[in-house]
Symmetry: C2
Subunit: 486 residues, 2 copies
């Protein structure tokens, strides 16, 4: 019998109560020495307790405000992506298997059971990679959490205040667990939004469902059992799949735990739990320090431009020179850029032919920003990339890799036909923590994304509901207002 | 802007076609050097091609036969677990969200959409940890694969031959990928049945759905994005959750890929793909060597006894002494056992009070085997553990850890009241590759599991359908025959 210690341990974990747990422990001690020597704090239980305790009233005003901004930005990108072929395919694939029409999709008329709806809105919101970013981990926090609980809130009425508290709580759990394993976990190849997302979705759903501490810990354990996504999927529909599936997995975990389905209440921290299995780094203080007083969700950022953030400083500078310095595209003789090496490495396409290729061309990004004064999806369309004025100007753009320029910076000098020069240096591009997008800029982004999907009057109505989230009697109204013809 | 290379790379993987892929590659090369120096073979494409090519006609007779035995054993354990509280809870939790009643559950009257049905039958079949075992990886191969494709076969007619070919193909893909990363992957903490299971389910479903090579590669990529399960969950309902969710995830992957949802076609092998992210070991030859000629599925084994396999040699020896040597329990003065250290480490409970505790008592296992001549679920019930004759005899059992006894062996000496001794040494316990369960023993196990769930006549009918799987016009008949009142 080709057996070994592993087979025996594997076969021993049989059943559902304490004795079996004890055996699992015995098996654990019988196995090779654990990686970390000091026993980790009981972070699964600590988080479960805090998930129960957190409340709207306990949230600092700045945290509430950032939570609303995160929600508004997420709704905008979910509307914007809702008719991408990725969503069309997923909708048609899943329709034959969906449960009751419990929840809708932004920008679409189809309705699904809440787990499928959470998946689909989560996919939609990541399509353009235009969603929010927690820069310390590059988790896109809102997608997994908001997709899960908005679907739930359509089925069971949830007040705007409770919804916002659950959203912030889920984002906090997701980002703190991410901080614990980042960067090693991400470097290894995991798509951290999809691996940490289920925790955020489960935490937020558990809170809205009124789970107790034990059930919440088990929901986190079941979420830990369902990480999603590898970086090799970047560049395919599978990338948007990841936050969507993370949302559905977290919701699935909370739904089972609510009925008494059990897991381990120390799944995040122990030897053969999540963090030690999925990462070579575990910094538990990232979960415990300042929990409930310092908020990762307050560090959330929003992309002003629909492209990789390496191009953001350049677009920011071009728009400032165009609008503040009143430089017209036809006046420009040449544009000199001092940039970080990654700018050319990632976005060095000199002659893009499609809108998508334009997202990887610093030449196009600078030119279209001068011509149109923006950097949204429209500026990365086939139309914009082939606009003769943009094509002409992009040939006058000369990026040079320059020491001392960090990836978030650019140094731009525009030489005009009459010989005059205009100079701008961007230290912190718009959309950073230091230079956040203003509410007005978030609104412009929202309306730009909704353009072509919802009538502007309806888009403004949905946006208004997002801003007034804390005052809504039912957060599900936002979802109901975001479908065509609502 | 607190940015770093990772944020930039993360933000760059935007979209769905070749340019973005190129950028993802560029980002990859910009990152730290890969772990492995020699480029891996394109195993994702190799497997996708083979999944298409494999067929019933190409399967050796012995492989077909083991496939049928794997299926029959799986149906038996799925029936046996169908009324455990773990399944009751999952059924009640998921009913409000299920899609159309496309597929049934063994031993139960509820019907679900095929993904929920796959999940629930997968959970049910692992409840007793009594399912099949691929000993090289301790993957339980049938659960994720059979649960997925039997649900599909209820919705879309599939011939028995096609079903068997898909089952064997899925098990082969699952176990070969497991061999590639085992043991490191399992040692790290992953529940390998849940992490490799999605590949098997996706492969088998892709084959039945008629996906082409590219779609099949993408289905494998989406399966790679959804590993399930950590060993910390052993001892809770979460353990049975894992093969069930693996089945549903693989089916979900194939359903999306069938409609054109894209992934990477090298997801298993590349730097930030599955194997290099989830394991420190990658032996690609385990996937490629003898693919289509040497079958891992032919190495599948079945447990004769409803407990961890450390106790199997002892139960085997006791039953042989009872039945072949005609020793009656009341004749026994003492039972001396020479055992491997793990036997006492994992199953050292001297005075179990519940059936579950009995699964971790070598004393009870030996005693009940002498008294009842079996080691099924009934022998690990509260009733059996508290049977006065068993309690009396277990106090006469004396296991001694002995060098030279491997975990699959036992050396048993029974001393009778009249002073005579009877000795048996088990080299390969029943249920091993060397001493497989006979078809008759599999049937006895099946009927014992079905007892109390289905009338014996019906259980025999279901069993007959399993044996005749290759001749069935519709494999779904097995599922339809396995519900109460069928």
């Amino acid at each position: 019998m080709t057996l070994n210690r592993r087979s025996l341990i594997g076969a021993a974990g049989l059943a559902v109560t304490v004795p079996a747990l004890q055996v699992a422990r015995a098996a654990e001690t019988a196995a090779p020495a654990a990686k970390s020597t000091t026993p980790p704090p009981p972070v699964t239980k600590i988080l479960a307790r805090w998930i129960q305790e957190s409340s709207y009233d306990a949230l600092p005003e700045a945290v509430r405000r950032e939570g609303v901004r995160s929600f508004l930005n997420w709704v905008g990108v979910a509307i914007g992506g809702s008719h991408h072929e990725t969503v069309d395919i997923a909708v048609s694939a899943l329709q034959p298997f969906s449960g009751p029409p419990q929840a809708g999709l932004f920008g679409r008329s189809e309705r699904f059971d809440i787990m499928n709806a959470a998946f689909l809105n989560g996919v939609s919101s990541h399509i353009f990679d235009f969603d929010d970013t927690h820069l310390k981990t590059i988790i896109h926090p809102a997608g997994p959490v908001a997709s899960a609980i908005l679907a739930y809130a359509e089925m069971k009425p949830v007040s705007g205040k409770d919804f916002l508290a659950a959203l912030v709580t889920g984002i906090e759990v997701e980002c703190r667990i991410g901080n614990t394993v980042y960067p090693n976990h991400y470097d290894a190849g995991w798509h951290i939004t999809g691996t940490c997302g289920p925790f955020g979705a489960a935490a937020a759903a558990a809170k809205l469902m009124g789970l107790n501490d034990e059930q919440t810990a088990y929901a986190l354990g079941l979420a830990a059992s369902q990480p999603v996504g590898l970086r090799e999927s970047f560049g395919s529909m599978n990338k948007s799949f990841n936050p969507g599936r993370a949302a559905a997995n977290g919701l699935f975990a909370a739904i089972l735990a609510a009925k008494g389905f059990t897991s381990s209440d120390r799944m995040i921290e122990v030897r053969r739990g999540w963090a030690q299995t999925i990462s070579t780094k575990q910094d538990w203080s990232q979960i415990t320090d300042g929990l409930g007083t310092r908020y990762e969700s307050a560090l959330n950022t929003y992309k002003p431009f629909a492209c990789g953030i390496v191009m953001h400083p350049t677009i920011d500078a071009a728009i400032q020179i165009r609008d503040a310095d009143h430089v017209k595209p036809e006046e420009i003789r040449r544009v000199d850029l001092k940039v970080h090496p990654l700018v050319l490495e990632l976005t060095g396409k000199t002659a893009p032919k499609t809108g998508l290729e334009g997202k990887f061309s610093i030449y196009h990004a600078a030119a279209v920003a001068f011509v149109e004064g923006a950097g949204g999806e429209k500026q990365f369309s086939d139309r914009a990339v082939n606009d003769p004025r943009v094509v002409a100007l992009r040939q006058k753009v000369f990026p040079v890799v320059t020491p001392g320029i960090d990836p978030a910076q650019v140094d731009m000098t525009v030489t005009l036909n009459d010989g005059r020069t205009v100079h701008r240096r961007i230290e912190h591009a718009i959309g950073s923590v230091e230079t956040p997008m203003s509410d007005r800029q978030l609104e412009a982004k929202f309306l730009d994304l909704a353009d072509g999907v919802l009538p502007q009057a309806q888009a403004k109505r949905v946006m208004g509901l997002c801003w007034s989230l804390p005052d809504l009697a039912s957060a599900g109204d936002v979802a109901r207002a975001g479908v065509p013809g609502a």
